[in-house]
């Protein structure tokens, strides 16, 4: 809420003028019944055609002025609302771009998307409606009551009773139904889940001939939803009849009182007509206001969620460290790591790697392989020990200076919408076509470019117009374009057949300045030729050494090897 006001302050002038013009518009609307009253009491009573015409012209003038004010107000409030939404979206996106891996894991894409689209839209509507109605509705309602008091105090007392009654009725129904609608929404989500399950599980459901049970489950949820909707609507549709009832009984009371007052000569027939008009204006405005309240509660909830969103994110700090010129290129010194959600993922890992070496990392799922390599570019913070690159703690590198020396090939091979060249330039902004083609060749992807025509071949979102293997080789090329000093292949050859995988490893080793390469894999074949293999089991390094050493000393390595190569001596 405070945050929205802060954003609104950038549009101070328009957000002040919008309600002001709305107020002016409302004032002119309030004057109409008084003019009509004069028209009846003076014009009609005296049979003065000129007077009637003059009143009618005044009304037209009011109408024109009102329209002018209204249009100005709508423009100002739209400007403020759209502006706030735009600034919010921008700042939120900037915020996401500063998120680190841990923040992203926590926030989740679908969350970020709904915050930035649905919630921001809701706030935009909320700001727009608030600027338009927050001043207008009370002015019309209370203005009508005040005008009534000016005309006749006794008749106006009916207003003083009817308006609070209306307010109570409107708010009571809104308050009762909001939680009910929430429940309906929840139930609807259950129905949705049930429907989705029937699609995602179609094969299994059919394999087990469980169609009828699924139908029964769905019917149960569906019927419950039906009952809840019926119950909720029974209350929510009370709003219209109830307000109609209150206002019209007030009008009946008004006419009865008015008749007595006219008989006593205190008020005129025209005055009664004006009072009648005011009562109707109040009703129309209150219905608008009720809708406004619903909109504003939604907008407030969205604003709160956006507020929470801005509190996300923990920036990484740079620390001071002196470069140790004699240290090996990469040093893991007693490194432990835990995800913020808890549970140690890596415990006391120590190893070193020299320039140009290949390090294999193998182990089962959840053994911490990917976590280990993600500490090198400082995607996550260590929870204990230090990681050093080129003699300097990774936490001591400024900005992106560390990441620029590293080429990362993530597990999931994803390309971005654009051309092949655009994607390759992610690795190096000013890469020449020659550099790009070289990198693609090393990544065993030469055939992809020739198959697609050229580097200008389009890539659709996520790279869906490429096969898994093609995508994987292109993501490897993307990392190679920058001629990295360190190359991290995070299980990134899984879609390649064994032969291509082997050729790729050979090509990387054959580069002019071969990078220090980390290969994360589940396949012994991918790591067995590495200079050093680290075997991880449940976050601990249970073996470090060459293939032959580990076969001797590390039972888990042998177990993995055997399970994949049992009887494989027939090479």
């Amino acid at each position: 809420m405070k945050r929205i006001l802060h954003y609104l302050s950038k549009y101070k002038v328009v957000s002040f003028l919008a309600p002001l013009f709305k107020m002016l518009e409302a004032t002119f609307e309030l004057l109409v019944p008084i003019v009509v009253m004069d028209l009846v009491d003076i014009g009609i009573k005296n049979g003065d055609k000129g007077y009637i015409i003059s009143r009618a012209l005044i009304l037209v003038l009011f109408c024109a002025l009102g329209f002018g004010f209204a249009v100005t107000a709508q423009f100002f409030s739209a400007k403020a609302a759209v502006g706030v939404a735009k600034d919010l979206r921008r700042d939120m996106y900037e915020k996401t771009q500063k998120f680190n891996h841990a923040d992203l894991d926590r926030a989740g894409i679908s969350n970020i998307l709904t915050r930035m689209t649905g919630d921001v839209n809701q706030v935009q509507t909320g700001v727009n409606m608030t600027l338009r109605l927050l001043m207008r509705s009370p002015i019309v309602v209370f203005g009508a009551v005040i005008c009534a008091f000016l005309i006749d105090v006794k008749c106006a007392l009916i207003f003083a009773v009817a308006v609070p009654l209306l307010l109570i009725a409107v708010f009571a129904i809104i308050l009762v139904t909001i939680p009910l609608f929430k429940n309906v929404q929840k139930k609807l989500e259950r129905v949705l889940r049930s429907a989705r399950q029937n699609l995602t599980g179609a094969r299994v459901i059919r394999a087990f001939c469980a169609e009828d049970e699924e139908i029964n489950d769905f019917d149960k949820e569906n019927n419950e939803l039906f009952d809840m909707q019926k119950f909720t609507s029974r209350i929510s549709v009370l709003l219209n009849p109830l307000t109609y009832l209150i206002i019209n009984f007030a009008i009946i009371a008004l006419i009865y009182t008015g008749a007595i007052r006219i008989e006593s000569g205190i008020i005129t027939q025209g005055a009664l007509l004006a009072l009648y008009d005011y009562m109707s204006q109040i009703l129309i405005e209150l219905v608008k206001f009720a809708n406004f309240i619903v909109t504003i509660t939604k907008a407030m909830a969205s604003a709160n969620r956006i507020d929470e969103f801005f509190k996300e994110g923990t920036p990484m700090k740079t620390i001071a460290d002196k470069r140790d010129e004699n240290a090996p290129f990469i040093v893991f010194d007693n490194v432990s790591f835990a995800y913020p959600s808890g549970g140690n993922v890596l415990e006391n890992i120590s190893f070193t790697a020299n320039r140009g070496e290949t390090i294999g990392i193998i182990g089962g799922t959840g053994s911490g392989k990917s976590s280990l390599v993600s500490l090198i570019p400082r995607f996550y913070e260590v929870s204990g020990g230090t990681v050093k690159v080129d003699g300097l703690d990774v936490r001591a590198y400024d900005g992106d200076s560390l990441k620029e020396r590293i080429g990362v090939v993530p597990q999931r091979a994803v390309l971005f919408a654009g051309s092949i060249r655009d994607n390759m330039k992610w690795g190096k902004n000013n890469a020449t076509d020659e550099e790009i083609l070289d990198a693609i060749k090393t990544a065993q992807g030469g055939d992809i470019v020739s198959a697609k025509g050229s580097l200008d071949a389009p890539v659709t979102e996520g790279g869906k117009n490429f096969s898994g293997g093609q995508r994987q080789r292109l993501t490897i090329a993307r990392a190679l374009v920058r001629k990295p000093e360190i190359l991290i292949l995070d299980d990134s050859a899984s879609a390649l057949d064994y032969a291509t995988d082997a050729k790729l490893r050979m090509a990387i080793r054959g580069l002019e300045n071969p990078p220090t390469t980390f290969i994360v894999s589940q396949r012994t074949a991918s790591v067995m030729h590495a200079d050093k293999i680290i075997v991880l089991d449940d976050g601990k390094a249970v073996g470090i050494g060459t293939h032959d050493e580990l076969l001797e000393s590390c039972p888990i390595y042998k177990e993995i090897y055997d399970s994949q190569f049992k009887g494989g001596e027939g090479k």
């Binding site: 771009q97 179609a202 169609e211 909707q229 609507s233 799922t365």
Partner: protein
């Protein structure tokens, strides 16, 4: 198409036709009473002439007013409830039909349509359709009756004023239409730009880890700003122009109102006025009420168009081609041995791209058949054919000499046990998941199956054991545990034929061993088709089917195939290339 959709909607309404008639009659009564009330009040005001107030008659009229008001309110409430119930029921019925339809859709439909999109049809489209329908009922119908009724009453009160109001009607319609047309274009641009921005956020944020690795944040922000600025511009236009509707129609309303006041004022003048002040009040009220339904109706028409569009999407799904039903005389043998034969089988998903051609093969009872090949070579196609998720385009697949097309689907599938690599669990308890193939299994049977599948120990350690509730994604279960659960499901039914899809990776060694053992227990004495990644499995198979680019290129034992020196030996040797 449109017309077809409309008649389909009618078939759903048909069930509620009685209620619908009642609400239509109620609507008529309500409109009549709402229009009658201002006349009563006008009469009362007419009696309030200074110095000549007939208070008794006024009270009589006011009592009539009170009764009318109370009756209108009650009828309004009842009508709204009925309208809601009708639409809710239609929604429920459509969803009910949809879920049944889903079970009868061929897998080819489900595979070729995104899940989210189909779910959208069943949920949001149905909801939007019902919203439109509800608005149509309540506002369209009452709106039209109100317009006609108002004109009729006006004519009775004073035909000159009626004529005036009627003459100005087109103006109101014209203004509303003019604005709607222009805002529509702006909204179109806005929603396009919005979609573009959402796609951009989706792409860059869901792959942001790549962005971080390549320090691409600034470039992303730059592009975002460009889209965001464009969105703000067209959004301002759309918001502003659409917000003109209210003030503009209000101006038209007011002009009508003032015109009536002026004319009525003239008619009320003179010794023998042709109109009373009370009548003028009624006319003014009517003038106010008269334009409102016009604005509403134009809104309703867009809403209805939208609703029909949603309906046609729903019906497109409901009318999609279904799987061919079992033949009337479909075979239902008591026992199946598990001899599987492929006779001249041809298959392709699309006619342009031929996959399996003239495939012949026989698997005898108890044999193990390994299906191997590089990723994406179409190994799942064989599963699709065996389970009859898809039919061969030509040729026959026979089980114990009966063509699968002549077998009851239930019989065929009950005799196959399937464990896929993409484990799928349903929302529910662990027990619900295990008993999917045998809902009436006893607790002892369930535990015995879990023990045989090496799943009992981890299930026991879950917070509520076999009653632990898991979501569709399996909750806290690991990939390996999920697969063990799926094996338990089969272990409970023990069908004579198996389809097993070995996990490529992603499972820790210990669990992997358990799965291996569980598979071994299962396969004993059963005809098993195994999509194999593990060399040991492949070597021990009775027959190996080698697939490449969707077709089966070689078949034979490990030694035969190696000796042959074809694609298989190439694959096999590639694993040992230095």
């Amino acid at each position: 198409m449109k017309k077809g959709t409309f008649t389909r909607v009618l078939t759903y309404i048909k069930n509620s036709i009685g209620l619908l008639l009642v609400t239509l009659i109620l609507a008529l009564a309500i409109v009549a009473m709402t229009l009658y009330l201002p006349i009563l009040i006008g009469d009362a005001i007419d009696l309030c002439v200074e110095g000549n107030v007939k208070i008794d008659t006024i009270v009589d009229i006011l009592i009539k007013c009170g009764i009318t008001v109370a009756l209108t309110a009650i009828l309004q409430w009842i009508m709204s409830i009925l309208n809601n119930n009708i639409t809710f029921r239609i929604v429920r019925d459509i969803r009910r039909d949809a879920i049944r339809k889903i079970q009868r859709l061929p897998l080819s439909y489900i595979d070729s349509h995104q899940t989210g999109e189909t779910v959208n049809r069943v949920i949001s489209d149905v909801d939007q359709f019902s919203d439109g329908l509800l608005m149509g009922f309540t506002q369209f119908f009452t709106g039209i009756i109100t317009i006609i009724g108002t004109l009729a009453f006006l004519i009775v009160i004073d035909w000159r004023i009626a004529l005036f109001v009627f003459a100005l009607t087109p103006l109101s319609l014209f203004v509303a239409k003019f604005i709607a047309q222009h805002t529509h274009d702006f909204f179109l641009v806005q929603s396009k730009t919005k979609a573009e921005q959402t796609a951009f956020i989706n792409e860059t944020v869901s792959e942001q880890k790549v962005s971080i690795a390549f320090s691409h944040g600034d470039e992303n922000l730059e592009k975002f700003d460009e889209i965001n600025d464009r969105l703000a511009k067209c959004s301002l236009k759309a918001t502003f122009y659409s917000s003109l509707t209210n003030p503009s129609t209000r101006v038209v309303n007011n002009l009508v109102y003032f015109g009536v006041a002026l004319l009525g004022g003239f008619f009320c003048i003179g010794i023998n006025p042709s109109m009373t002040v009370g009548n003028l009040a009624v006319c003014l009220r009517y003038a106010n009420q008269y334009t409102k339904p016009f604005n509403e109706i134009s809104g309703v028409i867009t809403e209805l168009q939208n609703a029909l569009a949603c309906a046609s999407r729903i019906f497109e799904m409901l009318d999609a081609k279904e799987i061919e039903p079992d033949k009337d005389d479909a075979a239902d043998p008591e026992e199946i041995n598990g001899n599987v034969t492929f006779e001249n089988v041809h298959f392709s998903y699309t006619p342009e791209k031929k996959l399996i051609e003239n495939f012949n093969f026989a698997a005898k009872h108890g044999q193990r058949i390994a299906i191997v090949g590089p990723t994406g070579c179409g190994k799942t196609t064989l599963i699709n054919l065996l389970m009859r998720f898809y039919n061969p385009t030509d040729g026959k697949i026979m089980i114990d000499g009966i063509c699968t097309r002549d077998l009851k689907r239930v019989t065929l599938r009950k005799n196959f046990g399937m464990v896929l690599q993409d484990t799928w669990l349903r929302e529910g308890t662990i027990r619900d998941n295990i008993t999917m193939g045998k809902p009436d299994a006893t607790d002892e049977e369930v535990v015995a199956a879990a023990k045989a599948a090496h799943a009992h120990s981890f299930i026991k350690n879950l917070p509520n054991g076999y009653d632990t509730y898991i979501g569709e994604d399996g909750g806290a279960l690991s990939a390996g545990q999920k697969q063990l659960l799926c094996i338990t499901r089969i272990m409970l039914c023990l069908p004579p034929m198996l389809i097993l899809d070995e996990a490529t990776s992603s499972i820790d060694t210990r669990t992997e061993m358990r799965i291996q053992n569980a598979f071994a227990t299962l396969m004993k004495g059963r005809t098993s088709f195994i999509v194999a990644h593990r060399l040991s499995t492949i070597r021990e198979a009775d027959v190996i089917l080698v697939m490449r680019d969707g077709n089966i290129v070689e078949q034979g034992t490990h030694d035969e195939l190696l000796a042959k020196g074809g694609f298989y030996s190439e694959l096999w040797n590639a694993q040992f290339v230095n």
